[in-house]
């Protein structure tokens, strides 16, 4: 789903350049949003917890650009990026982080449970592994309805060791479902290195053959690579070729959640991965490939303006009305369990 807006400055770009600009817009917007979210958490405005995708933006970006508007995204508590990448307005996401009535879930979900069905963002799930089987269900429904929709399901490296992963991958293959499983391997669970608790080196890719799937490992910090692998896998799913499992190697710049400084990670590992930062690197590549810097600056300025506006809107929004706490347990809009 291209986010490219054709303007005066970008009118003459090739379609490939448009796509790459769209990818850049995605990573820049996510970066700007996540940096702000961190700041607001430290200010005490984001309550509870918050899991950022700083450093991991390219994965959401590549898929965000490659997906069709009616495809389905299933993601985790680390889901700001994936929700935004589908076009969910920043103000609704920021409002949800701040627990405001203006949030996409009216303040009931919070940072870990962003959902915008209208944008194909089918929910952020906070129980490790739970959404893999659920993504299958959406894919099954698309298959039955013949809609051509594809479900894309994002999860972390640590998630590959829970039972639901196994059950979901097997069923996806047996039913030949139009689903793409994307493991964001950022090398860590919360604080434990994935290598310390996993029987194989590549937690997702080394399991692919157990489900009759191809082993795919890609550079999750490269927007071009992510866009390509996403396009291929989505196309395969859409055309009846069944599921894929992609392991995208990446790294989070910060800690697992909240104010975690991530000190359990070796300094040289952090330093090495910071050199692979998808945002400046992609910017440099686009410039090297001849894209006009002013176009990139426009994108950056717009992203920051959007984040500012979303922040202002969220700060200004009222908290949910207490009565709202009693709504939407049931389809009738209410919460009564008795007659």
């Amino acid at each position: 789903m291209s986010t490219t807006q054709i303007t005066e400055a970008t009118r003459d770009l090739s379609s490939e350049e448009q796509t790459r600009l769209g990818l850049y817009r995605q990573v820049v917007r996510i970066r700007a949003f996540e940096e702000r979210a961190y700041r607001l958490f430290m200010e005490g405005l984001v309550k509870g917890t918050s899991h950022l995708s700083l450093g991991m933006e390219a994965i959401a970006a590549g898929f965000g650009e490659a997906m069709r508007a009616d495809d389905y995204t299933f993601c985790t508590y680390r889901g700001h990026a994936h929700t935004l990448a589908r076009g969910t307005p920043m103000a609704g996401v920021m409002g949800e982080l701040l627990g405001r009535a203006s949030g996409v879930c009216g303040g009931k979900g919070g940072s870990m449970h962003l959902t915008s069905v209208e944008h194909g963002a089918m929910g952020s799930y906070a129980i490790i592994g739970a959404h893999l089987p659920i993504a299958n269900g959406a894919a099954w429904s698309a298959q039955v309805r013949g809609s051509g929709q594809v479900a894309v399901c994002f999860f972390g490296d640590g998630t590959t060791n829970i039972g639901a992963f196994h059950e979901a991958l097997n069923l996806a293959k047996v039913w030949n479902l139009p689903v793409v499983f994307v493991c964001e391997n950022n090398l860590y669970m919360e604080y434990t290195a994935i290598g310390d608790v996993t029987a194989v080196e590549h937690p997702a890719a080394d399991r692919a053959s157990a489900y009759g799937l191809e082993s795919i490992i890609v550079d999750g910090n490269d927007p071009d690579v992510m866009y390509e692998v996403a396009t291929t896998a989505i196309e395969r799913a859409r055309s009846g070729g069944g599921p894929s499992l992609i392991e995208a190697k990446t790294y989070r710049h910060g800690g697992h959640s909240r104010a975690d400084p991530g000190e359990y990670r070796p300094d040289d590992e952090v330093a090495e991965w910071l050199t692979r930062d998808p945002v400046p690197n992609y910017r440099a590549r686009l410039l090297a490939d001849g894209l006009d810097e002013t176009i990139l600056e426009d994108v950056e300025a717009q992203a920051h303006a959007d984040v500012d506006a979303a922040t202002e809107a969220a700060r200004a929004a009222p908290p949910p009305q207490v009565q709202a706490a009693y709504n939407n347990v049931w389809a009738d809009g209410g919460s009564s369990w008795r007659n």
Partner: protein
Amino acid sequence: MAELITYRDAVARGLAQELRRDPTVHFIGEDVAAAGGVFKATKGLLEEFGPERVRDTPISEEAILGAAMGAAMTGLRPVAEIMFSDFLATCWDLVAVEIPKTRYMTDGQVSLPLVIRTANGGGLRFGAQHSQAVENWAMSIPGLKVVAPSNPRDVIGLLAAAIRDPDPVVFFEQKSLYPTKGEVPDGEIIDELGVASTVRPGRDVTIVALASMVPRAVAAAEELDGLGISAEVIDLRCLVPLDTTTVIESVKRTSRLVTVEENPRLCGWGAEIVSIVGEECFWHLDGPLTRVTTPHIPLPSSDALEDEFLPSVSRIVEAAQKVLL
């Protein structure tokens, strides 16, 4: 016209009624299609509706309920079988943490019109891991509707209501009832969820029962009649929504309550009924609030021991006599 059919066959008939009516209804589970279910309660459905709508799965309870949930979010009305209700434990995260909370967490963006059918309860000498009555597990989870029919007619009417309901429903079929028979009218049957049925009117004591406990409560009421005690028997039919009106009105008349449940002692739905009555019609009560339950013990396999545990007619009779002392 009416027909005498088994509870088991009523399940197949109820499913067929809804599969015929609504093409978005799909049914999945382990051994449900080609084999017609391990309890033979879904025989003939594959033949009539084909392998796309009636589908066998691997032994992957989380994958089964995940498939149902994701499909329900996106336009289907899935019915998923979890073969024995004990196995709900292997997919409890889906049942208790994903399915019931998603509508609320998304502030109503997501609807989950799905049904989880499962064979519940003891009496078949299957031992502690295939005999549990766990309808209280489901009742304790906000966001789930909970249904447990006691007879073939209700199986059809309540299953239809569950499938048409826009919210997730856990549908408990009592496995000891599968071979029992009952009159079922011809044509479509459709009930409303949350309506209890007063299966036997009475004056002196209200006996509230569910599923397999309903026939036992009725038998006890008949015995009590002989002892000069007039017992009213209520078949709850649903735990959520709960027909508190029928229960409370009855207790207001009889002033005495006995609940009869197959759940083990602690935190069963009987405790919930007692608590509602104890708070809302306390001043009408003339005797202690009493529950008949399975003891708080894993169910033993041996027939001699299992029969000791499941609430019997005589234990119900005794409880009713006690509250009338």
